[in-house]
Each structure stands twice: as structure tokens, then as C-alpha cells.
């Protein structure tokens, strides 16, 4: 392997701040010199403190670096260094671009039209539904959906894109050897299998720490043209993503929530303070981005495919009453009972058969809703 690549991997493994490392590089116009460093003397004295130097050297001396390099040469985790041709252009805009980007899947995806959908892990059903809707529509319009592979909104954003046969980019806060949280292991596999990509700034064995999640959010913002916040509490990681996005000059959109919903407090604040544009439909995002970024994306047609009409045509009176009732809003079993005035047991039979026929959908807590 090229010695420069080795040095970049070494740099990416260091826990020193990127700024410090860039400062150090300024003292070494010939980067290969770093490889020959042995003692705390010469130019390095100007760049690092003794402790910093020792921690930096420890990575190489302990054999950790050698092991990681071997792993990368044999394993299925790809990496791209700053000086290489295929280094994602969007990351160059960062104040301190990453030395190495580790990835699994198709890294060229990062150069496409990307939009990040982020939000709280602890989300509500409303949040999940909206994420699903926006993710699908934006995906159909040609966006790659960027998110963080966390539970809640992040996971929904990825699955929404997959449902629409779109591609999705997942920026994770850990090394790519393992997936966190474990609940999303299958999702991660599917993302790669469908032509998406998992990317990470951390070397493959890295175990996530608290700050790495915040650091990761910076990449989510950098990788995208725009950031859409679906649900974020008053204190939410998604708000970090928004700050990074604003710093980088990305567009920020937010979906409003109920004014009494604690899950939407953060997003509602963003809208109140004009940090983000309030959106209620995916089309608004698309036309806004077409305008500001000179994209030429098509707004997809109305959501209802035609084939459902033949299913509806042979509904009887009660069935179509229920069907039409659920088109506008989800309803509780008791509400439907009240409207239809038929026996509870008969209604249950009716609803179950309609569900099996794919006309309606049962929701938790005895609610029923339209099929999406």
C-alpha cells in the first residue's frame, strides 16, 4: 500500500482534533517524513505537545495501525483518502476535511443529489408516518436519502427510501465492522444490497462514544444538499445536524408538529426562529431546491395508483362507507362502530377481511387507517 495512504489511515485513527493534525501537517510539506518519526524532536516539537505526540505514536508502535491496514487490504470495507480522485466532493467543503472516508457500498452516491432526513430516536407515530411519506416521495423524485441509521426517524427515512426503490446513504458513528444499534443490522445489509452506501469517518474497529454521534451529524449535513428535520425534541441530536447544515450553507426544512407535542418542540422552534423553512409536502422541498440549486427534478404525480379503483368498485355499501371514512383520517374501532351501526362481531369480520384484501390497515391500539 502507498505510504501516503498508510499515513492517512494513521491520521484518521488518531483521537487528536482534526485542527491539530492539520496544523501538524503544515510543518511537514513532504508527508512521508511522518513515517520516519521516532523521537520527540525536530519539527514535531512545534506541532504537538509531548503527550499528544506519544498518543499519536502509540497507534503505530502498538501494531494497531498495521492490523487495521491489513484488515482493510483483505476485508470488504472500502476507504478513500483525501488526495484521491474519488474523494467525495461535498466533504471538501468541510473546514477540516476527513483524512479518510471508510465506506461499504457505492461511494460515488455521495456526489449525487442528496437530502438528509433526520429526527429524534424517540419519535411518535406521526413522525414515522411523515418520514415515510417524505422519504418515499423524495426518493422517487431522484434524491438519495441521507440519514444516520439510528432508531426512530433515521431508520424510517432509510426504509422509506428502500420501499420506493431509491438509494440511501447511511452515515454511522462507529467503525464499519459492526453495526449500531443492533436492531438495524438487517437494514444496514439491505442498504448496501440495494446500491446504497454506509459511510463512516472512523476506522473499522472503532467503538462509538458519545461525541462520535454529534461528529457524525456534521457529515450528514455535509453529504446533503438540504436537511429535513421531521421530529426533534427540545434537545435533540438532530438540532446539531441543523447547526452544521446552516454553517455549511445547506438548506434546512422542518415539518411542523402539534404545538403541544414534546416530540416536535425542536422543529417548531426552528420554524419559529426562521432557521428553517416550514414544509408540509415533499413537493415543496423539490420545487424549492429546483429553484435554489438549479436541479431539474420532477415532482412526482399524485400518490394514488390507478389499480386500486378496481378493488374499490366491488365494495358493498358498508365497506365503502368504512373505506371512505378511513381515507381522510384514522379511526378507532368504536368510532367506526358508531358510524356504521352494525354489530361489533360483524364489524370485526368486515375489518379483518378488508385488511386481508389490502384495502385498509390495522394500526396499534385498535385503530384502523387507509392503506398506504
Amino acid at each position: 500500500m502507498d505510504i501516503r495512504k498508510k499515513i492517512f489511515i494513521w491520521l484518521s485513527m488518531s483521537e487528536l482534533e482534526l485542527g491539530t493534525l492539520y496544523d501538524m501537517l503544515a510543518y511537514f510539506p513532504r508527508i512521508e517524513e511522518l513515517w520516519e518519526l521516532e523521537k520527540y524532536q525536530g519539527k514535531i516539537v512545534y506541532a504537538l505537545t509531548g503527550d499528544e505526540f506519544r498518543s499519536f505514536m502509540a497507534i503505530k508502535e502498538s501494531g494497531e495501525l498495521e492490523r487495521v491496514i491489513n484488515d482493510l487490504e483483505t476485508g470488504n470495507i472500502g476507504f478513500v483518502c483525501y488526495f484521491e480522485q474519488n474523494y467525495p466532493e461535498k466533504f471538501i467543503e468541510l473546514d477540516y476535511p476527513l483524512f479518510v472516508v471508510y465506506y461499504r457500498g457505492d461511494i460515488s452516491l455521495l456526489n449525487g443529489n442528496n437530502i438528509a432526513i433526520v429526527g429524534s430516536r424517540a419519535c411518535t407515530r406521526y413522525g414515522k408516518e411523515q418520514t415515510d411519506r417524505f422519504s418515499k416521495e423524495l426518493s422517487k423524485a431522484g434524491f438519495n436519502i441521507v440519514s444516520g441509521l439510528a432508531e426512530g426517524i433515521d431508520g424510517c427515512a432509510h426504509t422509506g427510501a428502500l420501499k420506493a426503490n431509491g438509494k440511501t446513504i447511511s452515515v454511522v458513528a462507529n467503525g464499519l465492522k459492526s453495526i449500531f444499534p443492533a436492531i438495524n443490522v438487517d437494514l444496514a445489509r439491505e442498504i448496501v444490497a440495494t446500491g446504497g452506501v454506509l459511510i463512516s469517518e472512523f476506522y473499522p474497529d472503532y467503538k462509538p462514544k458519545g461525541f462520535s454521534f454529534v461528529q457524525r451529524n456534521r457529515l450528514i449535513a455535509a453529504a446533503s444538499e438540504a436537511v429535513l428535520v421531521v421530529e426533534a425534541g427540545k434537545v435533540s441530536g438532530a438540532l446539531h445536524t441543523v447547526n452544521f447544515a446552516l454553517d455549511l450553507g445547506r438548506e434546512v426544512f422542518a415539518i411542523p408538529g402539534n404545538c403541544n407535542s414534546s416530540a416536535s418542540e425542536g422543529t417548531n422552534n426552528l420554524i419559529k426562529k426562521f432557521y428553517s423553512m416550514c414544509v408540509t409536502s415533499p413537493q415543496e422541498i423539490i420545487s424549492q431546491l429546483n429553484c435554489t440549486q438549479n436541479l431539474k427534478l420532477q415532482v412526482s404525480q399524485s400518490q394514488n395508483p390507478i389499480k386500486r379503483t378496481d378493488k374499490i368498485s366491488n365494495l358493498n355499501e358498508t365497506e365503502s362507507l368504512i373505506y371512505n371514512m378511513l381515507q381522510t383520517e384514522d379511526a378507532h374501532f368504536d368510532e367506526i362502530l358508531e358510524k356504521t351501526q352494525i354489530e361489533a362481531k360483524k364489524l370485526l369480520v368486515l375489518l379483518t377481511t378488508m385488511e386481508i384484501r389490502g384495502l385498509i390497515r390495522k394500526l396499534p391500539a385498535n385503530y384502523f387507517g387507509k392503506k398506504d
Partner: protein
Amino acid sequence: MLAKVNTLGLVGIEGFSVLVEADLNNGLPKFDIVGLPDTAIKESKERIRSAIKNSKYKFPMLKLTVNLAPADIKKEGPIYDLPIAIALLICTAEIECENIKDYTFIGELSLDGEMRKAQGVLPLLISARALGHKKVFIPFENEAEASFIDGIEIYPVKSLQQVVEHLNNVNVLQPLQVSNFKEVQINMTEQNDFCYVKGQASAKRAMEISAAGGHNLMMIGPPGAGKTMLARCMPSILPTMTFDEALEVTKIHSVAGILDSKEGIVWRRPFRSPHHTTTAVTLTGGGNKAKPGEISMAHNGVLFLDELPEYNRKTLETLRQPLEDGVITVARLQNTVEYPAQFMLLTSMNPCPCGNYGSKIKECRCTSTQIHKYLDKLSGPLMDRIDLHVEVDGVSFEDLRETDKLEESSATIRERVNKARDIQLKRFAGTKTNCNAKMTTNQVNTYCALSQESEDLIKDAFERLNLSARAYNRILKVARTIADLDNSENIELSHIAEAIGYRSLDKKYWI
């Protein structure tokens, strides 16, 4: 002089004959009881001495030896007071009775010679009848439970003096009249009635099916949705107990000491709701005296576990075997006791740690990991044994509440349940099965044949709704009960569809 008197002992809910032998010898005054007595029996010496003295009889100042035969089975409880006292009084010739062999005595004495209430009298009497005892003296307070036993003369007595006078032909007592079980049942009234529960139509329907077929039921819903209230109403729609069933339950309750002395026999199906801090032993039975546990006390009735995930997981796992076998074997140091435990499991739980998952009114912000963790407290094998899942929501529709729409009363529902249960009893006559829920695989194949149309529906449902394979048999059994409630011989399409509607935990939309 030597005296021999009959009495009975109890192991679990089965009685065995015990012979009390008393002997008077010359020597220093002493009172010994041998034959594996427990502490309560050893202490009976003092009670007997005072009781005899306070009944104005003579207590012998000689060396007394009392033996409880057979000497190899441990005897427990204070019910031997009366037979020992009688044996002593025969020794001292206070009682002159030639046919003392025909009599059997059960009862605890108080110091003044009065009789006290004893535990386990009903199972003792049932065993006494089987073992060929003819005339049995029991404490007066146990009269009610004894009054259902025929084919044996029972004398409820208030004091030692009454017994002695009867035996001496001074004041002869009349044996107890047998009560009619049916008459008692007619007077049934329930505290909780479904007519007081507004709305909740789907939950009520599920409970009706559950009661009719003996299916285990789980209610899922946010706090305050009325799960517990619904559960409390369950006894009011359970099918009426047959006399044999009632006797079985009474036996267990008598041994456990929870029998109501006024009612005598348990004619209501029991409804037991142990708190979630309960231990495995209180649930299954055991302890020092191998007492029946909650699941045996719920025999032929309902075991209600409120907030299921709050129970200790190990405690819940102990339910698996009794749910399958209908009996629980409690082993202890001396012997092994088998208690029947054919109960219907009624459970309730919140859908997630905060309880509001899926609700429209209150938002739930539990992450999917939290919900998974919460539901993981319940093991698959246990969930596997629950036939019906019904979701109860706490939404209070003001307009619903305001309407004066009359809700169906429990009595009407119970009528339907009884009819459906009768059909089942006829169907399974001569087999061990007594309700649809307990059908064996063979019986399912015989009695749950499906039309091609229904078969297709199930197949469709499995594909579309992601049902788990283990749900298949459950759906068939529940559909059978729904068909019985409809008085339909065959399982129709609508029955299957409704049964599928009660499998919400199997579906993927959950989480």
C-alpha cells in the same frame, strides 16, 4: 382401658383414615401423643385437658398415651382435638357407646369445650364417603360446605358436650339435611356487570369468546383504558359450573382455607388476581405445608395477571407446564401432592413502557428498542399459549358516554356462553377435553375442518398480515368457539376472519 376412635387426615386434597388409640396406665400423670404429630397436634394436649375439664367431665390423672395410626404418615393441623378427647372420655368411661366404630370425628376444640371451624372439611368428607365412613361429626361452622355431601350422615356440633350427650343417648342429634346445589345457583348475583361498561365493544366480544371456549386472553392498552374493570366483569359471564366442578373447586378452597363459611360451596367460578410481586411458590403452591397455589385456587375459573410484564419472568415461566397439563405437582420433603389447575389465563399489559403506544390522544415516545425490551419480558412459549389478543383504548368518546344506549347485561352474554359451552360438552363427551381451548391436535383436525374458501382466506391472511405459524391452531380453536356461539356446525368464513382479528400481537405493525 384402651379406646379406638376414627378420624381422618389430609394430604393435599385427598383424605386418608386415621385411627386414634388412647390408653390409660398407672404411673406418674403424663400425656403423650405419638404417631408423627405436628406441633399443632402436640399442643392439643393443653386444649383437650381444659376442654374436658370445662365441659364438666373428669380428666384422668394417670399416664396417658395416644397413638395416631398409621404412624408413618405425618399428621397436621388441629382437627385431631375432638377424636383424641373422645378417645380419652371413652377410656375414663364418661362415654358409653357400643358402636363407636361407626363414628368419625373431625374438629378443633377451644379451651371452654366449644368447637372451632376447621380447614379442609369438604375434601375430608368426600374422602370419608369413599373410604366407607358412615357418621361424621364436624364443627358447626363447617355446616354449609358439608351440606352438599349426600350418602353419609353428618352431624355438625357446637361443643364437646353435644357430642358426648349424643353418644350417651342423652340428647340425640339429627343428621344434616342435604342442600340442593341448583337452588343456590339461582340466587347468583354479581357485583360487576358488563352493562356498566360503556363502549369497548370489541373487548367485550373477545371476552365472550374467551369465556365460551376457555381461551386464554390478553388485553393490551394504555393505563386507565379500563382493562382491569373489564377483567373484573369476567366472572359474571363465565359459564355456570356443574356440581362436580364446584366440588373440585370447593375442595381446593377448603384446603387453602379461603372458603366462605356462609356459602359452603364455591358455586361461582373462582377469579384470582395475585399481585405482580407474587412469587413462584404462591402461584404454583408449595411451601412448608404444600398448600395449593393461586393457579389451583383458580381451578375451573380465571387467573387474572394484571400488568403481565411486571411479573418476575421466572414466576411466569412456571405457568407454562400447568397451562398445558391442567395439573400442578407440588413436591416437598415428606410427600408429593398433585393439585388440579385448569384455569383460564386472563392477562393485561401496556403496549410499551409509557403505555401510550399507538394512542391518538397521548403521544408515546418510547423507542423501538425500549418497546422490544418491554415485550421481551414475556417469553415466546408463554405468549404462544394465549389465544386472543385484544386492544383496549382509553379514548373516552364523550358522545358515546352521553348516549343512553343500553349496554348488554352480563346475564344475556352468559346465556350465550352457556349455550356454546353446552355444545362443547356434548361434542367432547367421554373425553378429557371440556372446552375448545383444550382440544388436542387430533380433535382440531376432526372438529375444525375448513371449507376451501376459508382455507384460502387463512392462507391469504398469513401472507398479507405476517402471522406466525404457531397462530394457525389457535385461530382454528377460536374460530370453532365463534362458530359454537353462532350455533353453527361448520366453521364459516366469517368465523375464521373474526378469529384472525384477535391475533394482533402476531402482526408486524406491532412495533
